[in-house]
Symmetry: C2
Subunit: 707 residues, 2 copies
């Protein structure tokens, strides 16, 4: 089992090799005519400019936090933190680069047919998917091998955890910054373009169209990539940290062999999932049909193969790794935890799909409410989103129960404090959800590429048949994105739960057992923390919604100005082009400015509370976790449902485009934009970043200068 | 100190006497001309018909739960439960009766001037205020004297707590049922009347206008009365139950004298507050000015006098009652807790006012967002509501901290389990907020009377000057309602917190110390409970929003039918009247049907979880408390802010009535209707009903047939 970290590292390198292969394959594809190449370059240079500025700003933040970590924790943890942050940023950058190359090439391929277009778009997504998974697993294993196995530094697991904090920092700012950028551009483009100027979506005359497309790349691609890098790394770190922090307290029971089984099992699952994803990715092949079902089958084949292989491999690994100590009573239990996690993640995705797809009744009912105007449309979307919270929480709780039962069944009560096995089961369930990240992200990242490809087809004024192909691919992308969000949010809750427990142990260990966290919710400090924690996601949502609003109004002013001041623009006079770069610059500046407060809040509030009272911090994290989970689901699903209710009407139901019903649906969609693409997805990371920052600083809270 | 329960009972009788006096004074006032009397009777008979049907249904529910309590707990608790329910229902009925008498009389008095109208409206409200306070305190003291002092039944405090459960049951169904009724009528009347038929608000041609006015009485009067009856009773029960449940575990330390001080102190505060309220109510006198400031001063004079007297009395009571045992180290500490509660309650009210009044920037900003349409209006309201959550939670946490500190400072650590004093401080802080319920409810209930008076003026086609007077009174009512809501929600959180702690002790006591609740949030059962608890308020909000939606669409269908089928109605032909009774009947049937599921959910879910696992129930209650508090504030303030943003525009800003801005504001207002008048206010009660049902059934959970 000593070989597992190296095997996992090897599989990560293999994934990066595959990413390189897909990259060159995308690069070779034909990027189309001059106009298409021009548009592609505009989008690419806008996205690069944004990422460059974003990363510059975030680098400053990372540097400050690295210094704090070096001073309060230990210098190796600061190194690990920086590596985690840098690799996450790199993954986002690679994903964005290839996505902005693949868009025009997908458009061009769509001229030949859906199978060709699907191939280019999926390969573009796969570069991102395997870069994310490969860099995360590779980086983490390198840190583990170096600091834990080779240098054997003290409190080595603080160092491992710091990698996760690095990833979280980038993810948080990328999601918030990217989310603000993309929605400011989207809302700005829609409100002036569609509503005031009366020109269609993605029209080349609209100055904000390029910015909108840039937004898809920095928000949906780079932001989502950093998010899943963080989730994936976090899910592997959580059981490792849990084992390290909790079993160091009972060193007599935990022999080296037991320890090594527990520490490397998550890495083994990651290894199996990575190999399975690589194999799965070769099963994605489109046919010539534009039919949603056959496209969907083609795309899901890859995920299904990968998941099937992971299940088989997990059962084998559990038996192989947990049979050499009597502490492990029933190895199959841990396979149950992992597979339970995988199934619940899938079910959460299906729930999200049910509540946001126009094939099912919730979205249809929202669409029907447009008959009585925007107010009832909004109310129905809000209630549907809230009911989806209930369904998702019940699923999550079932998942937690199964994973806990599996772990308890597998691991003897004599190890740790009685329910160590159960908590370990919960932690590995999160990996179950994320083991196939490589292929899941590939499928997810394909969506914005197809979306952009459609935008380019529209702006380059190509044959409407091309747009039909890209639209079919794009519409499927909305569904796959819902599934990926289900995995992300489910794993966030499980990972945070495991990290929370690790935090409890870390506090105990850091104080040599002197400080035992009282996390009793009957304790007043805990309850105060619980109230503050439950409140923070509301504040965070409010700040990000307002940020989008402010950034969008700057965009609106600029678009209006261009329509007013550039002669012939609105009329579409030959050769008259809008000043798109100005819009990109505005969205960039506004989103960078706006991401600072909510981002910093997430890191600073737990630190402040932790240095004042660790019990309150325990309550705070628990409150933020449960209320953040609920708000994340609510906002993501309500937003998605409004979006698809609008699309449902646009596809000819209830009066179709231009009707009063459509206008009401557009109101719902606009309200949903920051819900589903800014506040909602950032909430997942918020939960984890707060837990992980607390875990990294645990020793400082009990022994630091303020305690 | 033995006399205190009797004194408190006496003050309650005095309050009831005052209510009778105000009642006869209102009755004597002139109800106006034939048309006004006709309208008044229509409203009154509609409201009575609704309450009769509602109470019939709820009586069935109460009967079932009473049987369960008699079987699982003890028959005296069932008696107490029924008494609590019956008195709460009676208070609501009285309030509704007088409110529907006072409306036309206020209209008539408005012909003479604002001072006269204010006097009638306030006296109408005061009948309600003092009936609520008098019946609650009187009933509770009677139960206490009979079962605790005279019969000395076993586990007597279960019996006292059951009174609170009875009050909560009625409050929950009244708030939900009344809330659905009033908003179904309001939304139905607005959507068809204002938007489709283009006739103004409260127009006699609109068939739903009477139903809308009935709704004000069953929702804002009877519902609010039951709510505050429940809050007030609950705030007195919480410290009593806490003392009884926790100190019975340490009988050796808690001498009879100590016990009696702690048990009767809350009653003493209630006594002081009641006398102070009675005195304060005589200070409400209007002048001849219609100016908002001078009206506001007149109305607030009563509350301010009552609060000032309560503060002075509390300090005296603390010194007098807590000086005869060395357990009480610093009596002033408990006065700090009570006064701290009073101040924080006031500050929470002011925060609500800040976020919902058009004198401050949040509402003005929402109004400005109407310039870019309904979507941005909705988003701004949502973010403002969420930010108000942050402000309110911080205030609440400060209040909890002060109250806890005061209790710890006052009571020695040797009593109870170390932080008994602090928790007791939190419990009495809730009474601080509610001691002046008599006058606070009077001021609050005056609002809907003034609103109805305006409706009657409009429907009876009186001189516009009359409407001006009632409008001035009505607009002030919105502000006073915000303040009362602040008290209600703040006290709900504190009371629930104290009851939660009592629940912990009750479980321990019921099992003879064998079952010690592990409320550790690191425990998986607790965490599962926490997730489920945080989810429930979302589900409850969704169900109530949908209920309003369904009821409103039935109303819309009926109003459209009448405009279509009754010749001359829309044109306002002489002598043609709509069939208002039909609309009232529809709203009644729909709201009764719709209140069943959310109401039953609140009572059944904690019972189910409790019989399965008490630890999970602990987590569940904590999760529901923090997430329910946040959602309650969010929904109440967002809804209030949209309402006033619309009124701000109607008063001539940003284009005024009929402009596109106004249309956008109407969308916001309609979304906010179920937020602020159905889901939001019911959330406060939801939190408490779940805690109190758990407390009453605590002994059954550990010793019942399923354990």
């Amino acid at each position: 089992m000593e070989a597992i970290p190296y095997l996992a590292f090897g599989s990560a390198m293999l994934a990066l090799g595959l990413a390189t292969f897909f990259f060159s394959s995308v690069k070779k594809a034909d990027p189309g005519d001059e106009r298409m190449r021009y548009l592609m370059q505009e989008i690419q240079s806008g996205a690069k400019a944004f990422l460059k500025q974003e990363y510059t700003w975030v680098a400053g933040f990372v540097a400050v936090l690295a210094v704090l970590i070096a001073v309060f924790i230990q210098p190796p943890a600061a190194v690990s933190y920086i590596v985690g942050a840098a690799l996450s940023a790199l993954a986002g950058y690679i994903g964005m680069t290839v996505a902005t190359m693949a868009n025009a090439r997908t458009t061009q391929a769509a001229k030949s047919g859906p199978a060709q277009a699907l191939a280019v778009a999926f390969r573009g997504g796969a570069v991102m998917g395997f870069s994310v998974a490969g860099l995360a697993l590779g980086g983490l294993m390198a840190i583990y091998v170096l600091f834990v196995l080779v240098f054997k530094v003290d409190s080595a697991f603080e160092v491992v955890t710091a990698f996760g904090l690095g990833a979280s920092s980038i993810a948080l700012f990328s999601r918030v910054g990217g989310g603000i950028f993309t929605k400011a551009a989207d809302v700005g483009a829609d409100l002036v373009g569609k509503v005031e100027a009366g020109i269609p979506e993605d029209d080349p005359r609209n100055p904000a169209t390029i910015a909108d497309n840039v937004g898809d790349n920095v928000g949906d691609v780079a932001g989502m990539g950093a998010d899943l890098f963080e989730s994936y790394a976090g899910s592997i770190i959580a059981p490792v940290a849990l084992t390290a922090f909790s079993l160091s307290l009972v060193a007599d029971q935990a022999t080296d062999a037991v320890n090594i089984s527990l520490l490397t099992f998550p890495m083994a699952i990651a290894f199996i999932g990575m190999i399975a994803s690589i194999i799965g990715s070769f099963f994605v092949r489109g046919g010539s049909s534009l039919d949603n079902k056959s496209l969907s089958r083609a795309l899901h084949m890859g995920t299904n193969v990968a998941m099937g292989l992971t299940v088989v491999g997990t059962v084998g690994a559990a038996y192989w790794m947990f049979s050499d100590s009597e502490v492990f009573e029933n190895p199959i239990g841990l396979a149950v935890s992992v597979i339970g996690g995988l199934i619940v993640g899938w079910a959460l995705g299906k729930t999200a799909e049910y509540y946001t797809s126009d094939h099912f009744s919730p979205v249809k009912k929202i669409a029907q409410e447009t008959e009585t105007g925007p107010a009832t449309t909004i109310l129905k979307g809000i209630s549907a989103g809230m009911i989806s919270v209930a369904a998702s929480v019940v699923l999550l709780v079932v998942g937690v129960g199964i994973a806990y039962w599996g772990g308890q069944y597998a691991i003897s009560d004599t190890l740790g404090d009685g329910d160590f096995g159960g908590i370990y089961g919960i932690a590995v369930a999160a990996i179950g959800m994320l083991a196939t990240t490589g292929v899941v992200v590939s499928v997810d990242a394909y969506g914005p590429i197809a979306d952009n490809a459609g935008g380019i087809a529209e702006m380059a004024e190509l044959d409407p048949k091309v747009r039909e192909v890209t639209d079919a691919l794009d519409s499927l992308g909305n569904t796959t994105a819902a599934v990926a969000k289900g995995f992300a949010v489910g794993s966030a809750a499980l990972t945070a739960l495991a990290l929370f427990k690790s935090f409890e142990f870390a506090i105990k260990e850091a104080s040599d057992g002197e400080v035992i966290l009282s996390l009793d919710v009957g304790d007043v400090a805990v309850f105060i923390g619980l109230f503050l924690g439950a409140m923070l996601p509301f504040l965070f949502a409010a700040l990000t919604i307002d940020a989008v609003g402010r950034a969008a109004s700057q965009m609106i002013v600029e678009v209006r100005r261009q329509f007013r001041e550039i002669p012939g623009l609105r009329e579409g006079k030959e050769g008259v082009r809008p000043d798109s770069a100005k819009c990109v610059a505005i969205s960039t500046a506004a989103s960078l400015k706006e991401m600072v407060v909510p981002g910093a809040l997430a890191v600073l509030v737990p630190l402040i509370i932790g240095f004042i009272n660790v019990n309150a911090l325990g309550g705070f994290l628990a409150g933020a976790l449960v209320s953040g989970f609920a708000l994340a689901i609510f906002m993501a699903n309500a937003g998605g449902a409004w979006d698809n209710a609008k699309k449902y009407i646009e596809s000819g139901h209830l009066g179709g485009k231009g009707s009063d019903q459509h206008k009401a649906a557009v109101v719902g969609d606009t309200v949903g934009d920051p819900f589903k693409d800014t506040s909602g997805p950032a909430m997942n990371i918020l939960i984890k970043v707060m837990t992980i920052v607390s875990l990294v600083f645990a020793s400082a809270f009990v022994s630091g200068p303020f305690s």
